[in-house]
């Protein structure tokens, strides 16, 4: 199913679409306010971009430096070429400890690998502990945003979900009380967990440590109470030096939610005494993307979600319409790398307005890449038949001044004479489904030019 077909079900509820649009625009405005408060913000973006470019240009060396440092710290390092290997590794580690109760803190990589169903299928209880993630886990949904996974839900939806699963009072949808109910429910899970799985925001090659940023403290609580910590990281999370964190910690939360910094910026370098720390370094298509010069900059992404909050298409179509772990503009350039056929409609889910590129804290040329993917897709024949033929026809039509002149005349007359029901019939004219056709001008530009310019 294409993005537009999935989006159609979302936009069918006009009120909810408007609310979704406004909610995300509010986050975008908070981002602007936070950004303008930092005089050197544009300089920080440039530095972040350069650091990431440099890291990618020496990725193999930094991966080895990171691994060696982590091993010196007493951390176990594992490598996974793809999602399947990652999941098998994690399950094996859990089984080696005879564990069945797992808490997980937000990790889009484990989401990308579909780790939860794998573990649950093997009899392991895995609880997502970020509140938004827990809400959608209870509802058996996927996250619809990178940092605001339940942004598509209203408080009434959460109230119903908690009433059903956590026994809160029916009709209670007060965010404060619902959060308190989740706190009590999840605290029991934290205290009982034997293994904690987390994602990684930044991995520092110099120290061999990983940094995890949360507002709720769920990663810290989970990791620091459980006997075993398993951190899953994509190879693109690397940065060279501890001092580089100064740049990224100033950019991440400001770009994501408009906060000056996340509540917890935690540095995990060595396991606590008597405990274990494992890092799983995952490729899953990333080295392939590194080999595509037009698209490798997408690996610089720090997963702040700013491009989603600003995207006029994402805001009005919802994260689920992208049907990919990472939705929105960044998802639309990451997904064709994974499966060109399946995600062929995503690079078209954009107005190419460039707003995503403007807000990106690491200066990824998102809208340029969207445009480039379209060309790749057209060449691979991965665009809908109607679009392919109409483009071919239009190309020929626009190349012939005679045909263009005649066509213009016919359109101007036709639009005036033909009945509205016919010119706006949605069966022939998909354009008119949600748009009004323009008023036909009396005269063509060509005629006007001939008369005016002598």
């Amino acid at each position: 199913m294409s993005h537009s077909a999935r989006a159609a079900t979302f936009v069918a509820d006009a009120e909810r679409t408007t609310w979704h649009d406004e909610t995300l625009w509010f986050v975008r405005q908070k981002r602007d306010k936070a950004v303008y408060a930092v005089p050197e913000f544009q300089q920080l973006r440039e530095l972040a971009s350069q650091i990431k470019d440099h890291t990618l240009s020496r990725l193999d060396e930094y991966l080895q430096q990171f691994e060696a440092a982590a091993r010196r710290n007493g951390v176990h390092v594992h490598w996974a070429a793809d999602a399947q290997e990652h999941n098998a590794l994690v399950l094996d580690l859990i089984r080696r400890h005879g564990a069945t109760r797992i808490v997980k803190s937000k990790s889009m990589l484990t989401e990308e690998c579909h780790l939860n169903p794998h573990l649950i299928g093997h009899g392991i209880e895995v609880i997502d502990t970020d509140l938004g993630e827990r809400i959608i886990q209870l509802r058996e949904e996927a996250p619809s945003h990178l940092v605001l996974p339940a942004i598509h839900l209203k408080k009434e939806d959460v109230g119903d979900t908690f009433h059903r699963h956590l026994g809160t009072e029916k009709g209670n949808h007060d965010p404060q009380q619902l959060t308190e109910a989740a706190r009590q429910h999840l605290r029991a899970k934290f205290l009982a967990a034997e293994v904690a799985i987390s994602g990684v925001n930044f991995a520092v090659a110099e120290t061999g440590g990983v940094v995890i940023c949360t507002n709720e403290g769920n990663a810290d609580l989970g990791v620091n109470l459980a006997k075993v910590h398993i951190a899953s990281m994509g190879i693109e999370k690397l940065i060279p030096r501890l001092t580089d964190l100064g740049v990224f910690t100033r950019l991440l939360a400001r770009s994501a939610t408009g906060q000056p910094v996340t509540t917890y910026t935690s540095h995990y370098t060595q396991p606590a005494e008597g405990r274990e720390m494992h890092i799983v370094i995952v490729d899953n298509g990333r080295t392939q993307q590194l080999g595509r010069p037009d698209f490798r900059a997408s690996l610089k992404c720090i997963r702040c979600g700013a491009c989603m909050n600003t995207c006029p298409v994402y805001r009005r179509s919802g994260g689920h319409s992208y049907d990919f772990t990472v939705p929105g503009p960044i998802g639309a350039i990451l997904s064709p790398n994974i499966d060109l056929k399946k995600h062929s409609s995503l690079p078209f889910a954009s107005t190419l307005c460039g707003s995503c590129t403007d807000v990106c804290p690491v200066k990824i040329d998102i809208h340029t890449q969207l445009y480039k993917w379209r060309q790749v897709l057209a060449e691979a024949g991965e665009i809908p038949t109607a679009k392919k033929w109409s483009m071919k026809f239009m190309g020929r039509f626009l190349a012939s001044p005679k045909a263009f002149g005649l066509g213009g005349k016919m359109a101007r007359t036709g639009l005036r004479l033909l009945p509205y029901q016919l010119t706006h019939a949605t069966a022939f004219n998909a354009w008119a489904v949600a748009r009004e056709l323009p008023e036909p001008p009396q005269q063509s530009f060509r005629d006007w030019y001939r008369e005016t310019v002598r």
């Binding site: 986050v27 193999d60 959060t179 989740a182 440590g209 501890l242 100064g246 370098t269």
Partner: protein
């Protein structure tokens, strides 16, 4: 060594672009004032309270947290003894942890808390309320200056900026998600 390791490293080496330089990070300067720190911490749900000296904490704490019974701290004779081996059940019942912070960051209200100052790694998040005690002369302007002052990050350490919070239910800000329900920075 796993074959996946070799495969990933070989692919990264083969596919990487031409080398680009690693920039040096300027200091950027900035406002390192107590006023700025106080204002930003307030805006993210925390609070600054002044004490005359770290020796005079206890009466201030009684005033701020009259209900707190089980208090853990390395700074005075506290009611719950916590160390790295303290069992989860004991940690889970701590009402208040009072821990020494190392560096404050004026721009974002964060305080650097290294493992050595935590008693137990889970204490700053498992406690119901958290107090960080900080020398006002240790406030710097930005994260750049904070990292420049760190000799390393030890085995574990965290910048803590305010109480645990969430906005996952319809973007309504709720203080007290999983970690500490409140954060007070006692400046001296």
């Amino acid at each position: 060594m796993s074959s996946s390791r070799e495969k990933i490293l070989a692919a990264a080496q083969a596919n990487k672009p031409a080398q680009t330089p690693l920039p040096t990070i300027p200091d950027f300067g900035g406002d390192a004032s107590v006023e700025r720190f106080t204002q930003v911490l307030g805006s993210i749900g925390g609070r600054v309270v002044w004490v005359a000296s770290p020796q005079q904490l206890v009466p201030v704490l009684h005033q701020l947290f009259p209900e707190a019974e089980r208090i853990a701290s390395p700074l005075f004779a506290s009611s719950v003894a916590v160390n790295a081996q303290t069992p989860t059940q004991v940690l889970a019942n701590v009402d208040l942890a009072v821990l020494p912070g190392e560096i404050g960051v004026a721009e974002n209200g964060a305080v650097w808390l290294p493992e050595a100052n935590m008693l137990h790694r889970a204490l700053p998040t498992v406690t119901q309320h958290l107090v960080l005690v900080l020398d006002h002369r240790r406030i710097v302007a930005t994260m750049h200056q904070a990292y420049a002052q760190l000799p390393g990050t030890g085995g574990y350490g965290a910048f803590v900026a305010g109480p645990s919070k969430t906005a996952d239910i319809e973007q309504s800000l709720v203080i007290g998600a999983h970690g500490a329900r409140s954060l007070v920075v006692l400046l001296y």
